[in-house]
Symmetry: C2
Subunit: 439 residues, 2 copies
């Protein structure tokens, strides 16, 4: 039996300004499920929002209080960020990716949401005619929405059934049209949790270099491919795969939100490969009345025009957490490994009740258990499934929002815990009973 | 005698990626003057950056530490901001402007820089064909640069020699062309420190209503027109002039940066008049695939796509400072009155050495002493004066950056204190001696 009636669902949609549950965004679904919880007193199982499931990193909290005591907070943040934070990002890249990048190529942004927005603007304005973005689908829908906001064009390549050399060739085909300024993907992928492998990254890097396209690698879930042991040990292999190993003309987005459970504080870094950072663009020079150096435009024009940078005390905390990670005091991989265990337990429950994992294969292995996974149900579209699961008190997101060609939903493993697994079991048992098409 | 040689100035420009000192932006001038200080050990008198001259508000600092202790910081900020902060903004508007606005029409933004950016995007996308911004010049140059970044068109009306009915008529003329989505001005004005008076605001509001143009009133320096006694007493007249008294279709930008010396933390509010907030725009519905309600688009799409909102602990602190102001515990007008005293002392020094105030008159009185004032020097363009003053160890900003038709520079009174007044005297005495054209 459903937990919430049609009538309640309609009222929730109206109260939250949602046109149609089947097309609701992540934040809208989150808002509506909170509304239903308040209205009925029945708790939801929140699998929609990719919000951390833990308390904010205590070292970060302590550092931020220290910064407050030191009187940070009155003066505008320096262009590009607090030098301490930029240096810490540089050191972190060396320690955990074995990539050398000077601190002045690392910019602090108000979350990677700002990082991707600044990347999109700067890269599509860099070379006249190169003004579109290529997504690897399924993608992080907010990044696509950023382009709708800006009025910037985009295309996409779907990864399902197209990995390895086929994927590289498909990307090359799109880049060869000459209008793609940048390619963006997250690795591990939000929402598919697939991971591009070294051979793929190497091939993609070559295609990018060939056509002067900049890859934007979103490392929001850095180190969380838990299939590989040993990530996250400072200065020691193995290192997670990164395109920065195959081209120096890249943008990496590194976020504190998941690895340090600092999503509420909005601190991230936009790391620009040095040759790209130092490049002079006549188009940028003209538009911003400066000398058009790429990194300078990003810090002095774009980030400054977005929000004058990132809260000073948060930058201070970000710096401390990065530093302590490099010193082996913070174990951000160990700290987030619980997400993998939660994903495994949930997958077991869902699969037992007729669901299947949509993006189930990587190039050379099954998809791992981590922060996200994808689910389908026989005979149901992703929109129907997402809307129907809300009625059973389980908030999820339709994969269509990610531009996926597959029908299904995204599940985030971060916020379920304790007795909620039993509630999930019972609700999915009801769901399966009411939807026997699976049998 | 100059403090810094031509050669040093050139090296500073090169080190800071500045093409020409005479066209340098505020942040570039700031960067270059810091470079010169480091290189030579000679301190600058920093009159360029509009950064607070005091420590961050201690109540805000204490509240932020409290929020950290309470474990804020892990979860993404709610759409539109922390309810507590939105309610506090609503209460603040009632207490200090005598304006009633529901909390859900008040959005928390990462500083008013984000507030103006979100305003520009939402308002120019609201009605097809209404896609340009009208500035009241001289304007805050960063806001104009935001439009260059977005590729949005703008025009401007200069206020010099055109106040009162003439100004209202001039604005009406521009609005009558039908393509102006919004009019933006700051009151008091950055950089001129002029203040639009009630009669002007009333006339402008009528023109805006007539042509469906939304006024964006930037209240960055709220309550700092120190010519008027009694501002800042909660619930008691007199209240500063505001366009919100003459139209309900407005956007007000309220910032914590100056009134609470919280510029480093990036907290502000975008307050949307209720009829505008509730309006449905087919164009916004189509672009963002929602129902197109203006306020919902702003919070669920634009602010979320900018940075996923504002740091949670900072929002908590912002809420506390607004509440304590309403309770009469924080006296933000008294706290900032020192800026007026510093401006008066500086003006006296400059005027004695041959300078004059460029924007010296308001509609019905001389310009007051506050956070900014403007200066000219006989026979020198604003660019020459700005560049030359840097050579004398005084960092200022060319008024041309603000689109002013007048030659001169902007002076910020916030950061000069103590013995720096004597240093200023001596440097300006040298300046006057070396530039006898003034005599």
């Amino acid at each position: 039996m459903r937990v919430f009636s049609e009538e309640l669902m309609s009222r929730a949609a109206a109260a939250c300004n949602i046109k149609d549950f089947r097309a609701a965004s992540i934040m809208e679904t989150s808002q509506a499920s909170s509304w239903l919880e308040k209205e009925t007193g029945i708790p939801f199982i929140h699998l929609e929002l990719g919000s951390p499931g833990f308390s904010p990193n205590p070292w970060g909290v302590a550092a931020e209080k220290e910064a407050l005591d030191l009187g940070y907070g009155a003066q505008y943040p320096p262009l590009g960020g607090l030098p301490k934070a930029r240096q810490a990002v540089s050191r972190f890249l060396k320690s955990f990716l074995d990539i050398e990048l000077p601190a002045d190529c690392c910019m602090i942004t108000s979350g990677s949401m700002q990082g991707s927005l600044v990347s999109f603007i700067s890269l599509t304005q860099r070379v006249p005619g190169k003004d579109k973005i290529l997504f690897l689908n399924p993608c992080f829908s907010s990044q696509r929405n950023q382009l709708s906001m800006l009025g910037v064009g985009y295309r996409a390549v779907e990864e399902y059934g197209c990995r390895g050399e086929a994927l590289v060739a498909r990307i090359g085909e799109e880049l060869s049209r000459g209008d793609i300024a940048a390619l963006i993907y997250s690795n591990p992928s939000n929402p598919a949790w697939t991971c591009l492998e070294e051979s793929e990254l190497k091939g993609i890097a070559a295609q990018c270099e060939r056509y002067d396209t900049i890859p934007i690698e979103d490392l929001a879930y850095f180190g969380m491919d838990f299939r590989h042991e040993g990530y996250g040990t400072p200065g020691k292999a193995p290192y997670p795969p990164t395109i920065a190993r195959y081209t120096s003309r890249f943008v990496l987005l590194l976020s504190s939100s998941k690895i340090f459970s600092f999503a509420g504080q909005r601190a991230a870094a936009m790391c620009i490969g040095e040759p790209l950072a130092r490049e002079h663009s006549p188009a940028l020079a003209q538009r911003y009345h400066g000398i058009g150096e790429f990194a300078h435009t990003v810090e002095a024009d774009l980030i400054d025009l977005m929000s004058c940078g990132t809260a000073m005390t948060v930058q201070y905390a970000f710096a401390r957490m990065l530093e302590l990670s490099c010193e082996g005091v913070i174990d951000f991989v160990g700290d987030t490994a619980e997400y993998g265990r939660r994903a495994a337990r949930m997958k077991e429950i869902f699969l037992r009740h007729g669901f299947s994992v949509v993006y189930d294969r990587d190039l050379s292995a099954p998809t791992g258990d981590g922060f996200f996974f994808t689910l389908g149900y026989p005979g149901m579209s992703g929109a129907e499934l997402a809307s129907e699961l809300v009625a059973y008190g389980v908030a999820v997101v339709n994969l269509k929002a990610s531009g996926s060609v597959r029908e299904g939903v995204r599940i985030c493993s971060s916020r379920i815990s304790g007795s909620q697994f039993d509630v999930l079991k019972s609700r999915m048992s009801d769901f399966a009973e009411d939807h026997p098409s699976a049998r």
